[in-house]
């Protein structure tokens, strides 16, 4: 019978082990999030990342070995970005009717997200590499990672910052917008999609269908706008 250590080292050389682990960890996270009734703090991605990071640490596996397997999931970020064309196309009727408020809210929300994040971080002495990863954090993950890569920032750090941004937005949106007395579901959803991308959109869909559709639209439009303005905004702080 072959030694377990030998089987382990064989499995560690191929993509099968860590690809499987990624899907199972996400499955566990998804099941927990459903059981928690969609409370934004129990996020399937957060659960999966904690489980996998713990597993890598416990088995002494380097991230590069893990990524050999996980790269097949990571690759789908590109096709997922292209796929955002579908919800954008479906929302085209909405876009024509409220084009002006949409464009104004997009520009204001997107600029505020980037400039406030860079401004606070730079004022507190955060280093340049981290600022580069921080600039695109309000865009949806595949786009933010692409922007960070093209600016020379760390894609993994950006992914973590994008996740934290999404969860913050999902938690604060409802109480914040109630305090501000914004009752228009289009405005509420759109602002959340612009500031807190997919995780904010998932939250908006739970609250109200119109808010969800506008959040998806905000996420898609901000993906494009962030790609255009993040390099410029970053240059103001370097």
């Amino acid at each position: 019978m072959t030694d377990f250590a030998e089987i382990w080292s064989y499995l560690n050389e191929g993509p099968l082990l860590w690809l499987t682990a990624t899907l199972i960890a996400y499955g566990i996270g998804d099941a927990l999030a459903r059981r928690a009734g969609g409370r934004p703090l129990v996020n399937p991605v957060l659960v999966a990342v904690i489980l996998l990071a713990g597993l890598l640490w416990a088995t002494g596996t380097p991230y590069a070995t893990y990524f050999e397997g996980a790269q097949f999931v990571h690759f789908l970020l590109g096709p997922a970005t292209v796929s955002l064309a579908v919800p954008l196309y479906l929302a085209r009727g909405h876009v024509r009717r409220v084009a002006l408020p949409l464009l104004a809210a997009l520009a204001a929300g997107s600029l505020t997200a980037i400039l406030a994040a860079l401004g606070v971080a730079a004022a507190l002495g955060v280093d340049t590499a981290t600022l580069t990863a921080l600039a695109p954090k309000s865009a949806t993950a595949p786009v933010a990672i692409g922007i960070a890569e093209s600016l020379g920032g760390s894609p993994t750090l950006t992914a973590v910052l994008v996740l934290i941004t999404g969860m913050t937005g999902a938690v604060v949106a409802t109480p914040l917008l109630n305090i501000l007395r914004v009752r228009d579901w289009r405005a509420r959803g759109f602002a959340v999609g612009v500031a807190a991308h997919g995780i904010g959109t998932a939250r908006a869909l739970q609250v109200n269908e119109t808010a969800g559709a506008f959040a998806g639209l905000g996420m898609g439009l901000n993906a494009v706008l962030t790609a255009l303005i993040a390099p410029w905004a970053l240059s103001l702080f370097l």
């Binding site: 406030a116 309000s138 996740l163 941004t165 602002a191 997919g198």
Partner: protein, 128 residues
Amino acid sequence: MIAGIALILCFQLGGEVVARGLGLPVPGPVIGMAALVVAFLMVPRLFESVRSPAEGILSHLALLFVPAGVGIVGHWNALGTQGGPILLALAVSTVLAIAVGALTFVAVARLAGAAAEGDERAGAGRND
């Protein structure tokens, strides 16, 4: 299904070629997405072949964050020393962006006279 997936990959490929070729700061897939919306508007029958694979990928969008997210194991040091300022920057900017975005939408909609429809919807939503 295969035709739809191939079409999505073709638009990504085209976007990458344009982004690299012209040295643009915009990621290739974003250009592919914008081009695909334009393609739907010009040739609406493309939409039906792309719709089901695209919605399949998007319904599990969160899964795709996981491999990059696990990369946090390599960033304990950066987050350890700068964790406080980074979290503060994320919290402040996200709260401000939601507030400014929503208030701007409402203000401009009122100026443009498009407020009526949204208030009706808000009223219907509150009864849910």
